[in-house]
Symmetry: C2
Subunit: 200 residues, 2 copies
């Protein structure tokens, strides 16, 4: 092998929001994967690495175009203006402009999530960049790996109890098989696993 070691090692880190705290809080898994990367790989060699943060927003949860069209149909058939299934239950969505506003808000929330990671990188002096994509996380992550060609992909994964050792989260397992670069899955430590599995 004749690898060039002159350029920085580019590590893509897939990050997502906390499923209980929501935006802009990072999930325990992705912040854990990120801190592990800093502590165990980057260490004090900040100039040797560049971190690439990818946040994938799921259309069904974020009022994206797919949901928008489906929900508008629902409004028209039911004759109601109140839409269920969103975080913003205080708001009323009655026109396409309302949905556009929500899309913008979710985009901003995604940016605030990335801001957390970018700020941490600046604290330790490692160069980085972050971007947001919409779609199925596992598919988008693999597609972005193909497009960006990082040296390593780091994916956090929800923890494993004593009887769950065989289990590896769907996204990380899919990426390990399909991503066209070496993949590191960082499993949460037992002490970091919330009592309720949904509290990630």
């Amino acid at each position: 092998m004749a690898e060039s070691s002159g350029d920085a090692t580019r590590i893509m880190v897939a990050v997502n929001e906390s499923s209980i705290k929501g935006y802009p809080h990072a999930s325990i898994s992705s912040s854990g994967a990120f801190e592990w990367t800093l502590n165990k790989i980057v260490r004090d060699n900040a100039s040797g690495f560049r971190l690439l943060f990818l946040h994938v927003q799921v259309p069904d949860e974020d009022g994206d175009s797919i949901l928008l069209s489906r929900t508008l149909n629902l409004v028209q058939s039911a004759g109601q203006t109140m839409i269920h299934g969103f975080d913003d239950m205080d708001s009323i969505y009655a026109s396409p402009e309302d949905f556009k506003g929500m899309k913008d808000r979710n985009r901003k929330r995604g940016l605030h999530l990335l801001e957390y990671f970018v700020n941490r990188c600046h604290e330790v002096g490692v160069s980085c960049e972050g971007w947001i994509k919409k779609g199925d996380p596992k598919e988008v992550i693999c597609h972005e790996v193909k497009r960006i060609q990082p040296d390593i992909l780091v994916v956090g994964c929800r923890g494993l109890g004593p009887f769950q050792r065989v289990f590896v989260g769907t996204v990380s397992e899919f990426c390990q098989k399909h991503a066209e670069c070496p993949v590191i899955t960082i499993k949460r430590k037992p002490r970091e696993i919330p009592q309720d599995p949904v509290d990630d």
Copy 2:
């Protein structure tokens, strides 16, 4: 997370011999995984890492105790002194001492394999250690991970052609699921894949 970054990151690298060249030559997969680790993770931060080389010898191929007892039974029942199924087909194994000699030879060959990796580490100034175990590689690797508790396990894996992208070698796939530490699987590059799949 409050990881200590004071100690070196301990990277366990599973290494094996070339299946066509035999000892002491390293397989393309394991030497590729090792060089990748040096180039992409260790980089010029040699003092930040310690490499732990584990070589697992498979009893069925190496004249180990399990094979020895089974083979001796075969000799006794067949009344022959010529044993088939080994590399050393020129030799005649007629007594337990002959097998012991072969065991020692295989052990020495394994040490020569480790010597290659240890020498490379000394060239680049990264600290390391290596050891040999007998058994089923995937089981032994996971057992050693549990015992040694490295920060990362690096496993090479035979390459993937255009129609084999889903395939991940059994050992690496097993380790990804069962090893109790983050695992990096380094797939061979297409250009490194021999014409004959057995030539690894």
